[in-house]
């Protein structure tokens, strides 16, 4: 065989590459996915800018900058290659900033995104290993640590300098829709109309106000198959269903519910829509819950996960202590994802129900 060896070397310039099948690959990659999700968040960010002006953007920039810096530091400390340009740190920073109030002091997003990247992500082993969504873990951490300036019931929307933004949000201090829904549900439609809710001309966190912008961005992700539509759909529908059906304590005692006759079906639907469009549900359902790393693997599992988050949001909003339950509902469901994965494994080809048919 030696004779032939030499001959074949002259034909090829370099040594052949040998690798396992398949030798083709999809053009998709982690940076492409992460940057697509970042791009999908831009419309909501723009509405945030329209609503809350430059300061809000400064909060976003600080959050992203600290996220990138802490990812680089964590990875150098762990001795693994630094992959800051794959966009996952940027995404965490962006998402965290978008669920903070627009007037929050700058050290808050800094601490939050540092916690999110270092503790909630790299302590578990980097991208793909974390159990809880880093952005939400960061927000929960901030909520617990600095509740003074974050969960202020009356979120002051605008500093004097930015009075009168383009979308007509002008009240200096105005309760967020969520708060009104919790404390004074009957008086809700006096203050906010569904239209304004949908457009996003309402007070709230930087990126969560405009349902329209969020749905726009999310539909791009659904088309590119980075988000499985079953998850947000089951999430939002569960919240709307429970908001309509469950009884709630009225403004002045007594209960509001269809069964008790104090709520017409129409009003119940309006309340369901109000719950869906207000607070962080839209950004939670489309961008936080659908984080690939912390959501179940199969689409059946994602539907169950979405429904679970929905139930928790409804419970917290109607009976819990917080006006806004999205962040906690997703974090709690993240804890159960491993259990969902275990029970939603698909039947192997020919081993499940079909086996009986033709075995």
């Amino acid at each position: 065989m030696e004779g032939k060896e030499e001959m074949s070397d002259t034909i090829l310039e370099n040594k052949l590459i040998v690798g396992p099948a398949p030798h083709l690959g999809t053009k998709d990659s982690i940076p492409r996915i992460m940057w697509s999700v970042n791009a999908a968040l831009l419309p909501a960010l723009f509405v945030g800018f329209m609503n809350f002006g430059w300061y809000a953007m400064l909060v976003v920039v600080v959050s992203i900058a600290v996220a990138i810096a802490s990812e680089a530091a964590a990875q150098r400390f762990r001795g693994v290659p630094i992959t800051v340009n794959d966009g996952s740190a940027v995404l965490t920073g962006l998402l965290l900033a978008m669920c903070l109030p627009p007037n929050v002091p700058l050290y808050i997003p800094a601490v939050g995104s540092a916690f999110a990247i270092i503790i909630a992500k790299h302590a578990f082993g980097g991208l793909g290993c974390n159990i809880w969504n880093p952005a939400l873990a960061g927000r929960a951490f901030l909520l617990a640590a600095y509740s003074g300036s974050i969960v202020m019931p009356q979120w002051p929307i605008l500093k004097q300098a930015f009075r009168g933004s383009i979308l007509g949000v002008d009240a200096v201090t105005m309760a967020t829709p969520c708060l009104v829904l919790k404390d004074a549900p009957l008086a809700f439609f006096g203050k906010y109309s569904l239209g304004r809710l949908f457009l996003g001309a309402i007070p709230g966190s930087i990126g969560e106000t405009s349902a329209l912008a969020l749905i726009l961005g999310a539909s791009y992700l659904v088309v590119k198959k980075y988000v499985n539509w079953r998850l947000p759909l089951s999430y939002i529908l569960t919240v709307m269903a429970l908001a309509a059906l469950l009884p709630q304590a009225g403004d002045s005692g007594g209960t509001i519910s269809i069964w008790a006759g104090t709520l017409t079906v129409g009003a119940a639907l309006a309340r369901a829509l109000a719950h869906a469009l207000s607070g962080g549900l839209m950004i939670g359902a489309f961008f936080m819950a659908t984080d690939m790393v912390t959501s179940p693997l199969t689409s059946k599992g994602q539907a169950i996960y979405g429904a679970g988050c929905g139930v928790l949001v409804a419970l917290i909003r109607l009976y819990g202590g917080y006006p806004e339950g999205v962040c906690y509902s997703i974090l709690i469901m993240n804890t159960v994802v491993w259990l969902i994965d275990r029970f939603t494994a698909p039947n192997f080809f020919g081993a499940g129900r079909h086996a009986a048919k033709n075995a």
Partner: protein, 277 residues
């Protein structure tokens, strides 16, 4: 003042009696020797004894289904401890150590390998990227398998730290080329190659491989080495580690461990021929 004393005294008495009655009712005879044996074992659950961890071995030893010396990593020290607990004499086998049958540190590659960086996986791709398909691929499966920190990849090639090696045979199982062998410490001379290729082919790809020149076979006075399928193979019963073949071997494939082991103070063996230890 009286009631507190009564309370505590009465409760203490009541519970004392209760516990005594319970311990009578729920009597279970447990052989305490199992715990004592388990405490004597190293507790690394390496499975070298073939049983499910140290607890499994402790139970087997007490039930008599395993010999007191079956804990290989424990070696002589543990064997004596267990023997004392069981009250029997410990016949300890000689300490064995893993020997790497390859020196092909700088063998070139046949192709550029793209895939999982473990020897097991690379071996599936045309027997690995190395020019020599019998030699070490160098992705370190053995070093990862060794739980006694006795095996390290130094510049991409395994090195056995014989002082720490407890011959638990994990590296033997991990290497897809089966390059590790457990050989008693008293044997000091080993062939560091496993290639069955013809001498001409070996000389082209590896400077330290066995080229089947049979010089070792001719010089050996104890008929302890034979060249079969282009490879010198040792018969360790006859081999007296005299080292004659080491000088004869033109490519240095046959190596003597006398200096390294003496340095480590592991086993000062008297040389059968020259008499110096």
């Amino acid at each position: 003042m009286l009631p507190p004393v009564i309370i505590l005294g009465f409760l203490g008495l009541l519970f004392g009696i209760g516990l005594y009655v319970a311990s009578r009712v729920f009597r279970v005879t447990v052989d305490t020797r199992i715990e004592r044996v388990e405490r004597a074992l190293p507790g690394s659950n390496c499975g070298a004894c073939g049983l499910a961890g140290c607890h499994g071995l402790a139970k087997a030893v007490v039930h008599g289904s395993a010999d007191v010396t079956s804990c290989i990593p424990g070696g002589e020290h543990v064997a004596h401890l267990v023997a004392d607990i069981m009250g029997v004499e410990a016949k300890v086998a000689e300490k064995r150590v893993a020997v790497l049958r390859c020196q092909g540190r700088d063998v070139g590659d046949r192709f550029i390998y793209e895939g999982i960086a473990t020897c097991q996986a690379a071996n599936l791709m045309h027997k690995g990227p190395k020019e020599c398909i019998f030699g070490c691929i160098g992705f370190g499966d053995c070093a990862r398998a060794c739980s006694f920190d006795a095996l390290h990849m130094i510049k991409g090639f395994p090195e056995v730290d014989e002082a720490k090696c407890v011959s638990c045979a994990k590296c033997v199982a991990a290497c897809p080329k089966a390059l590790f062998e457990l050989i008693p410490l008293s044997k000091l001379v080993h062939v560091r190659c496993k290639s069955l290729e013809s001498g001409r082919a070996v000389r082209k790809i590896c400077k330290v491989g066995c080229i089947a020149c049979k010089k070792c076979e001719t010089v050996c006075e104890f008929d302890a080495v034979h060249v079969k399928d282009n490879l010198a193979v040792f018969d360790y019963e006859k081999c007296t580690s005299c080292g004659l073949c080491v000088k004869e071997c033109p490519t240095g494939t046959i190596m003597s461990y006398r200096e390294t082991r003496k340095g480590l103070g592991l086993w000062p063996v008297k040389n059968a021929v020259s008499g110096e230890s």
